[in-house]
């Protein structure tokens, strides 16, 4: 029998492994469904309407929406993964397994977050594969695209942790998703360039941190964006760090988890 006391060691890796096993054990729900949804968007906007819609930033509309759809898929599923896992664990009572384990709050936040990121990347990657016939698969700056996708998925996985800790019922998760995540996503430029928005909506969109994440991923894929990519990277990084710090402090406070 081996025991480990190292930092980010066996207990942390176990939490991450357990979380990934959880979503991989229900692949229809976690991967197949979002890929079908994204495929339908691509068929409607890419193949059916794409030729009739104007080019955006010199890019055909069917190609333009692919990075947005990938980002939407990955952050939605990063959020869903952490939110549903923690909510189910609270509901069934097995959250105590994590709470009585020798895990630090940082490890708990990171373990859940990285599993959410993994599911987000799985979904995003699958959407990318589905989009190949429509968009051709060109990625202008792959490292930048991956970095921005990681920041987007991390931020929303952390939002999922916060929502699940706060929520007392599954309704709470739905409310968090409906009133916060969905508006930020749809107004963040998944389907359009903010240059196309009339005032004051274009300026208001700049206050949405999700816009920078989507725009940054789009730059990574297409090499063109609404704002400079460094600004997107900086704002996305700061947003992610802020949410991460908030999440760790929330867990440390014991709010709704430890009496």
């Amino acid at each position: 029998m081996n025991t480990s006391t190292g930092y980010l060691s066996v207990p942390f890796r176990t939490l991450l492994w357990r979380e990934m096993l959880r979503f991989l054990s229900v692949p229809t729900q976690t991967v197949v469904t979002p890929v079908i949804s994204a495929g339908l968007y691509l068929v409607i906007f890419g193949l059916s309407l794409g030729d009739r819609l104007p080019r955006v930033n010199s890019v055909p509309y069917g190609v333009f929406i692919v990075p947005g759809l990938i980002t939407m898929g990955l952050l939605n599923h990063a959020f869903q993964n952490t939110a549903s896992s923690i909510m189910i664990a609270k509901f069934e009572g097995n959250i105590v397994d994590v709470l009585v384990a020798p895990l630090s709050y940082l490890e708990i936040a990171l373990g859940y977050m990285l599993a959410g990121v993994a599911r987000g990347f799985l979904v995003g990657g699958a959407i990318y594969l589905v989009s190949l016939p429509v968009a051709g698969g060109r990625v202008a700056h792959p490292v930048f695209a991956l970095l921005m996708a990681f920041l987007a998925a991390s931020t929303f996985a952390l939002f999922g942790i916060i929502a699940a800790v706060w929520a007392e019922r599954f309704d709470g998760i739905s409310a968090f998703s409906t009133y916060i995540i969905v508006p930020l996503t749809y107004l963040g430029g998944v389907f359009f360039s903010i240059r196309a928005l009339p005032p004051p909506w274009g300026s208001l969109a700049l206050g949405n941190p999700l816009f920078y994440m989507i725009d940054g991923v789009r730059f990574g894929f297409l090499g063109a964006s609404d704002i400079p990519p460094r600004a997107s990277l900086a704002i996305a990084s700061l947003s992610c760090l802020f949410v991460f710090a908030f999440c760790v402090l929330l867990l440390r406070s014991g709010y709704k988890l430890r009496k």
Binding site: N2, T3, V10, P11, R13, W17, E92, N94, V100
Partner: protein, 322 residues
């Protein structure tokens, strides 16, 4: 045997532990120690504070005041160390229904930083009769199997302290017996056991020392046999051949009570004063026909009922065993 002669720090040490929920005090400054190798029982009615105390030891609940340590390590400041030293069997059947029995135990091992313990997991599954169900998802297990799996989960990291919170609640007689055999075996191998239970006869049978909590304070804390001896209330009941309407004058000094339509005559008997011979002599002299006889010895349940039905004593001061 209580391992009080051991020189190291106590397995569990609690000093002045207070837990408040707003205006409500769930624990009101309790102090006690559990020595290494001891089998200690924590009893009390619902809401007495037993689970709160346990939850503070394992880190699920935060104390308001006081000190709590496991083998000398503070449960908050050194939580990584103390949590590896403790295994807890919770009262509720809480599980991760996504996984099989085998995977559940592997994940639990990993949570406690243990890898490469397949032999030990195999042993646990064998002795707890789970080996044949290793590939079943937890959802498919019966209530008894789930209870055994909870015990296995608590032991995957070979803790030095095993905390059992109502381990046999809702468990049938045969499973209860096999669980106790297993816990005794673990205890005999040196594991310290802290038990809470509503089955007082189980505590009396297994625990070397017992603390009785009521309203967040100890009303008794002592060795089990000493606690039982504190109730000097042995009773003898005579079942009469012919019913009586009144107590014969010769028997009145013995404070007998007639019951069951005059067919049962019950007398209190002190352990110490040895008045049994005088009583039997008086019964013979009264010419009563005795068809049967029953002696009731005091047990822990009598102590429990006696103590917990009284009003709360001084905060944190046990009535017995100070």
């Amino acid at each position: 045997m209580v391992a009080s002669a051991k020189t190291g720090p106590p397995a569990i040490q609690i000093e002045g532990l207070v837990k408040r929920y707003g205006a409500l005090s769930a624990l009101r400054g309790i102090s006690f120690e559990v020595q290494e190798g001891e089998f200690f029982g924590l009893l009390g009615p619902n809401g007495a504070g037993k689970s709160t105390a346990i939850n503070i030891i394992v880190g699920l609940t935060r104390r308001s005041e006081g000190k709590v340590s496991v083998f000398g390590h503070d449960v908050t400041a050194e939580y990584r160390t103390t949590r590896r030293l403790v295994g807890v069997v919770p009262q509720e059947l809480v599980f991760d229904h996504f996984f099989t029995v085998e995977r559940t135990l592997k994940i639990q091992s990993g949570y406690f930083g243990v890898t490469g313990n397949e032999d030990w997991l195999e042993h646990l599954m064998e002795v707890l009769d789970l080996a044949a169900h290793r590939k079943k998802k937890v959802l498919e297990l019966s209530g008894g199997m789930k209870r055994r799996l909870l015990v296995a989960k608590a032991l995957v990291h070979r803790p030095r302290v095993l905390i059992l919170d109502e381990p046999t609640a809702g468990v049938d007689v045969s499973l209860r017996r096999s669980l106790w055999e297993f816990v005794r075996e673990i205890h005999d191998q040196g594991t310290t056991v802290l038990l809470t239970t509503h089955y007082i006869e189980e505590a009396e049978q297994h625990c070397q020392r017992i603390g009785i909590l009521n309203h967040g304070a100890f009303v008794a804390l002592d060795r089990t046999e000493k606690l039982v001896r504190t109730l000097d209330e042995k009773r003898i009941s005579l079942y009469l051949s012919d019913p009586l309407s009144d107590l014969p004058p010769r028997l009145q000094p013995f404070k007998g009570v007639l019951g069951e339509g005059g067919r049962k005559l019950t007398f209190p008997l002190s352990r110490e004063d040895g008045n049994l011979r005088a009583l039997l002599h008086a019964v013979t002299e009264s010419g009563l026909g005795v068809a049967d006889l029953e002696v009731h010895m005091p047990d822990l349940e009598d102590v429990f009922v006696s103590l917990t039905s009284r009003s709360v004593r001084e905060e944190g001061e046990p009535a017995i065993g100070r």
